[in-house]
């Protein structure tokens, strides 16, 4: 046990933990997007879905605690790796460029620290707006529920939110563009045969997630909350 803890604190261990928490967060955003798409289902499908989630009781708290833990650990590891690189090269190059070829040094991989911190700050505002936002109470199949659908629609009628969210979701796409592939590589799944495939799947996944998430605020904004898909 002691050796395992020591191993997790090593360079290899830190990277593996970043990968595991990253994959956990990937699973979370997939379910989050599937949940969001309920907005386009039946009139009350989204509110039924959020009601069902909130009715999970202690199970929801356990899941949320795990999620908070994964987010904080992932962010801590990312920031500490970035911090250490400054110590590992005190004097930088006056000229530096990538050699290309098999290199994955891209705008996405080089800006992980920036996109990561933006996402972390965004998360605080996001939870404040929706999870802890004030909602009307409606009757759903004989029980009281929060009208989150109305809150979502009203929020995204504000251009600041609609375009702010869109911008952040584009950054999420970039973060996933390197993160997906990197997570699997950190978990030692890198193999010449599959590497290119995992990288390509990662890019497709990143685009799907970004487009899926940013479609919602833009659709609401540009249809004035009256879009055919919303009713």
């Amino acid at each position: 046990m002691a050796s395992l803890l020591k191993a997790l604190k090593s360079q290899v261990g830190r990277k593996i933990l970043t990968g595991i928490t990253g994959i956990g967060l990937i699973i979370f955003i997939i379910t989050h997007l599937l949940g969001n798409l309920q907005l386009f289902g039946d009139a009350q499908a989204f509110n039924e879905y959020t009601y069902a989630l909130e009715s999970l009781g202690w199970i929801l708290y356990v899941l949320e605690a795990g999620l908070v833990f994964a987010f904080l650990l992932h962010a801590y590891l990312g920031i500490s790796i970035w911090w250490k690189r400054r110590k590992a090269r005190p004097e930088g190059y006056s000229k530096y460029q990538s050699k290309g070829g098999p290199s994955h040094q891209t705008w996405a991989s080089k800006s992980m620290i920036v996109t990561g911190i933006v996402l972390l700050v965004f998360l605080v505002f996001h939870l404040d707006t929706f999870k802890f936002g004030a909602t009307e109470t409606i009757m759903l199949n004989g029980h009281e529920a929060r009208d989150l659908k109305a809150l979502v629609i009203n929020t995204f009628l504000n251009p600041l939110y609609a375009f702010g969210y869109t911008a952040v979701m584009i950054l999420l796409g970039f973060h996933l563009g390197h993160g997906f592939w990197s997570a699997f590589t950190s978990l030692s799944m890198k193999h010449n045969q599959y590497s290119a495939l995992i990288y390509t799947v990662g890019i497709i996944f990143a685009v799907l997630m970004a487009v899926g998430f940013l479609f919602i605020p833009l659709y609401i904004y540009f249809t004035g909350g009256q879009g055919a898909l919303l009713v």
Binding site: K15, I16, G92
Partner: protein, 255 residues
């Protein structure tokens, strides 16, 4: 006769380990396209000696045929220059044209302190090898040939990793100054062979820990190391290192 041309150099000059360095401008008017990059630096040094105003530029080299790992240099921001799978000594001046400006810097990392000018101390790599980059064998009479059967594909892959010449370009090019490709290559070479099996766990843990102790940074999977490696070693070595390290740790291996 090959045509001679002129190039402008910005070369890192640094008197000693703890002294400040700076880029110094030089112009060479008699560069031949058949010269290697190091031969061009030899010509520069002849010019500096002839002028007699300062010491010649110190730079590392040995075999000058791309197999020893002594030459280094970051040339216009790229370790070993612009060509893939090429050492600085095998880079020829035909890759440059008249009037080009070339910035020449040492491999930069805290674990590779500058000794003088372009020469850095890469003994951190030796210490990583010392803690586990070996196999224990029976000494005395020579072992029988082919007494340990090894699958051809295993032997070939081990050889691919064994081609690492320990030049340090992976560290120099890594945005994090990580030595993961070097350490991973040494481990991937020895760990997959039956001769390396008895010490596999111990070796993996010891070398990974030594790598961190030397002050190299974390790996962020940029794969820039693979791009600059003069032997084209794949970052699969790094994935394998992680797998073996976690297996050893889970098996409770202590160092």
């Amino acid at each position: 006769m090959a045509e001679e041309f002129s190039i402008h150099l910005k070369v890192w000059r640094q008197e000693g380990p703890d002294q400040p360095g700076k880029l110094v401008d030089y112009t060479l008017n008699n560069v031949n396209e058949h010269m290697s990059f190091l031969e061009m630096l030899d010509v520069l040094n002849e010019q500096i000696v002839a002028e007699g105003k300062e010491d010649p530029v110190e730079f590392d080299y040995d075999c000058r045929e791309g197999i020893c790992g002594s030459c280094n240099l970051v040339i216009n921001g790229r370790a070993h220059g612009p060509k893939a799978m090429t050492c600085t000594c095998q880079l020829h001046m035909r890759n440059y044209s008249d009037g080009d400006t070339i910035v020449v810097e040492p491999f930069r990392a805290k674990a590779f302190p500058v000794i003088k000018d372009l020469v850095v101390d890469r003994s951190a790599f030796d210490r990583i090898v010392e803690v586990g980059g070996y196999v224990s064998i029976k000494t005395g009479s020579a072992p029988d040939a082919n007494s340990i059967p090894i699958d051809k594909s295993v032997a070939d892959t081990a050889f691919d990793y064994a081609t690492c010449i320990g030049c340090g370009a992976c560290v120099a090019a890594c945005p994090n100054s990580s030595a993961s490709l070097f350490t991973g290559a040494k481990l991937a070479h020895l760990n997959r062979l039956p001769q390396g099996e008895p010490e596999r766990k111990k070796r993996t843990i010891a070398m990974v820990e030594q790598m961190e102790e030397e002050g190299f940074g974390d790996c962020s999977n940029y794969a820039e190391c693979e791009a600059v490696c003069p032997k084209g070693i794949s970052i699969s070595a790094i994935a394998e290192m992680r797998r073996n390290y976690m297996k050893a740790a889970l098996a409770g291996e202590e160092v």
